[in-house]
Symmetry: C2
Subunit: 173 residues, 2 copies
């Protein structure tokens, strides 16, 4: 027997890769610049993850887990899934890079459904708020549509005005 496998090393590399991907995007991610940013040779990544494709899918999983963790932390603080609370968490300035990455990955996943099947299978179901089917679907659509708008224009006032309108409409029924 001899040197045992070190699972922490792999996890460490993945954490760093996730950081890098969130900052630099996923569409034109390549091994060499990524490896260099991680202070490592490209082969090291191949050794640990078995190739670019697999690494990419692990990165997507990593981002999802990270967001899920943050969301769980929010759910504790904030009791309900009220529309406004969810929005405040989502559209927080510190979270925007995550969602920029999210929509970029979403776009390429829609283009290559076979390659990103795992992502697409969860990208709606994982985020549907609780409640009736129609209500939940509509709420998620509003959050995503407005977030897209905010990421594009940065016009937070207009976007949040629209969200307030939605909250009013929903409360009036």
């Amino acid at each position: 027997m001899a040197r045992p496998v070190d699972p922490e090393r792999r996890a460490e590399l993945l954490r760093l890769a996730v950081d890098y991907a969130i900052e630099h995007g996923v569409a034109d991610l390549t091994l060499r610049p990524l490896a260099e940013a991680l202070g490592v040779r490209p082969n090291t990544l191949v050794h640990h993850f078995g190739g670019k494709e697999r690494l990419l899918s692990e990165i997507l999983n990593g981002v999802r887990d990270r967001l899920r963790g943050m969301r769980a932390a929010m759910a504790e603080q904030n009791g309900g899934d009220a529309v406004l609370a969810t929005w405040r968490w989502t559209a927080d300035e510190e979270r925007l890079p995550f969602f920029r990455f999210f929509f970029e990955a979403y776009g390429v996943a829609l283009r290559h459904p076979e390659r990103y099947e795992a992502f697409l299978r969860r990208v709606v179901a994982d985020w549907l708020p609780e409640g009736g089917e129609r209500e939940a679907t509509l709420e998620l659509a509003v959050q995503r549509g407005l977030l897209l708008d905010l990421l594009t224009t940065g016009e937070r006032e207009r976007v949040e005005g629209a969200l307030a309108l939605f909250a009013e409409l929903a409360a009036a029924v």
Copy 2:
């Protein structure tokens, strides 16, 4: 003097390139396969468009113009910009490839705002329906969020149920 410039040739190539891009996507578009599909050498594209970057931006313009044309045709048929009418036009089966392309381009544009500045400047403003600022922003967000859901899950019934709910809410006020 001599052989005059043929603007029709360039327009023809652009039309074909737009067709190709809608079908194959924009994120991993490269000149050689595109040129081959068009029955032409890559150099021909460089000659007419001056390089990949410029061609790409013309393709985006082309898709936008094409959608705008289709939308104008709808506006004639259908008087108003009622939420349901807009949705019916948008989510028509024949239009979905356009919007798959749209969201893919949207994602990479959010990643590289400097490269796709023209796209981002219009992607919200061009599609805001008429009406109050809050109402228009919310409507656009709902349409886009639900369209994203439909493209992902294909669960048209659930998605259109959410749209109907939104129409009810909006009508009740």
